[in-house]
């Protein structure tokens, strides 16, 4: 007998969660499907947050880390959300190992003042991608997490080891710097 109508009340599992489960069991083909589906988003995130030079390497690390951690994925959220969080963690932990947070923020303060004051030459139009790339790393990450990805200041502060007030002030300056760069056309 062939079922022609969906079963009512039977819990369904989406293809992605199924792939995640198979991948957690060692199925590399399932994991490759997940990679193909999410690589653009993850690579874009790493490129924006860490810069184009490190994006490939960090993206690879994200997927290798995801492979390691897949057995802990409980499908309480979508796989994409879980992977994205993991990617942010990889980027930030890498940043922490490269330089101290405090030193980075001090650098950001001075660089942001410079960016806000200095306008791009007239006639040079910057799109947001290029403008973001010109921000200091710490401010750029806060802007991306808050305004592009929709994180709260509390979430950002927790991830970066800051107080929410610092995240807010950095965001405000980052926005001003970006607006300044976008206006200089």
């Amino acid at each position: 007998m062939t079922l022609t109508t969906p079963l009512v009340g039977v819990p369904t599992i989406d293809r992605e969660t199924l792939d995640a489960r198979h991948a957690a069991g060692g199925d590399e083909a399932a994991f490759e499907r997940l990679y193909r589906r999410h690589v653009a988003r993850i690579h874009t995130l790493t490129r924006r947050m860490a810069g184009p030079d490190k994006a490939d390497e960090i993206t690879q690390d994200v997927f290798v880390r995801a492979w390691d951690k897949l057995p802990t994925f409980r499908a309480e959220s979508a796989f994409g959300t879980w992977l994205y969080r993991l990617a942010v963690n990889v980027v930030l932990s890498r940043r922490r190992s490269e330089r101290s947070e405090r030193a980075a923020l001090l650098d950001d303060d001075s660089a942001l003042e410079y960016q806000t004051a200095k306008h791009a030459p007239a006639g040079m139009r910057l799109d947001l991608e290029h403008a973001m790339a010109k921000l200091p790393e710490g401010a750029r990450q806060i802007f991306i997490l808050h305004d592009v990805e929709g994180w709260t200041h509390e979430e950002i502060a927790e991830q970066l080891g800051l107080v929410p007030g610092t995240s807010k002030s950095q965001l405000s300056r980052a926005r001003a710097a970006l607006r300044s760069m976008l206006d200089a056309r």
Binding site: G25, Y35, R41, H43, T44, V148, T152, K168, L182
Partner: protein, 179 residues
């Protein structure tokens, strides 16, 4: 979700809306795939929950049964039971228990090599569970040795051996499914 930050101005908002994801210039899978194979041995157990659950249930049952039983024995006997470290192998089993013990030994033998494939946390979890069961079996066996006519002690030992066998079978099934 946004908080109490001042609203985004329209120019930036529009620019953010127009952002697009772009894939890497080259396919990174060729570099990622070999790294995956190196990191997780084929056949390793990843279904920790079923094994942990089975062991956990077994431990809970054994613990509950043991507590219930030990609460009911005479105080002098209880002291003897709880202080013993008698290994299971030195106890004379009944015919039924001997069969169970033999099956346990066989499974333990076959799992010894398979267990090496498991990742460390799973291995440790299973070992801890089996340790608890072994202690319960030792206590039950000691009690039975000290009171050979105690039917409750005999039943408790039999049930505990069955539970250990059940846990080992569950682990064995999961291992076979993964290999």
């Amino acid at each position: 979700m946004h908080d109490d930050t001042e609203p985004l101005d329209p120019v930036l908002r529009e620019a953010i809306t127009n952002l697009r994801d772009t894939p890497p210039a080259s396919d990174l899978w060729a570099t990622i795939a070999p790294r995956l194979s190196m990191r997780r041995p084929k056949g390793s157990i990843l279904l920790r929950w079923p094994a942990a659950l089975a062991a956990g249930v077994a431990i809970a049952l054994v613990s509950a049964g043991g507590t219930h039983y030990l609460m009911r024995v005479q105080p002098t006997t209880r002291a003897a039971v709880t202080s013993t470290t008698t290994p299971v192998t030195t106890v004379a089993y009944s015919a039924a228990d001997s069969t169970l013990e033999s099956a346990i030994r066989q499974l333990e033998g076959s799992l010894r090599s398979t267990m090496a494939q498991l990742d460390a946390p799973t291995r440790q979890g299973i070992s801890r569970s089996l340790d608890v069961l072994d202690r319960a079996i030792a206590e039950a066996a000691a009690r039975r040795a000290s009171a050979p006519d105690d039917l409750r002690a005999e039943n408790y030992l039999t049930n505990t051996l069955r539970k250990k066998l059940g846990v080992l079978r569950t682990v064995s099934t999961l291992t076979a499914r993964q290999s």
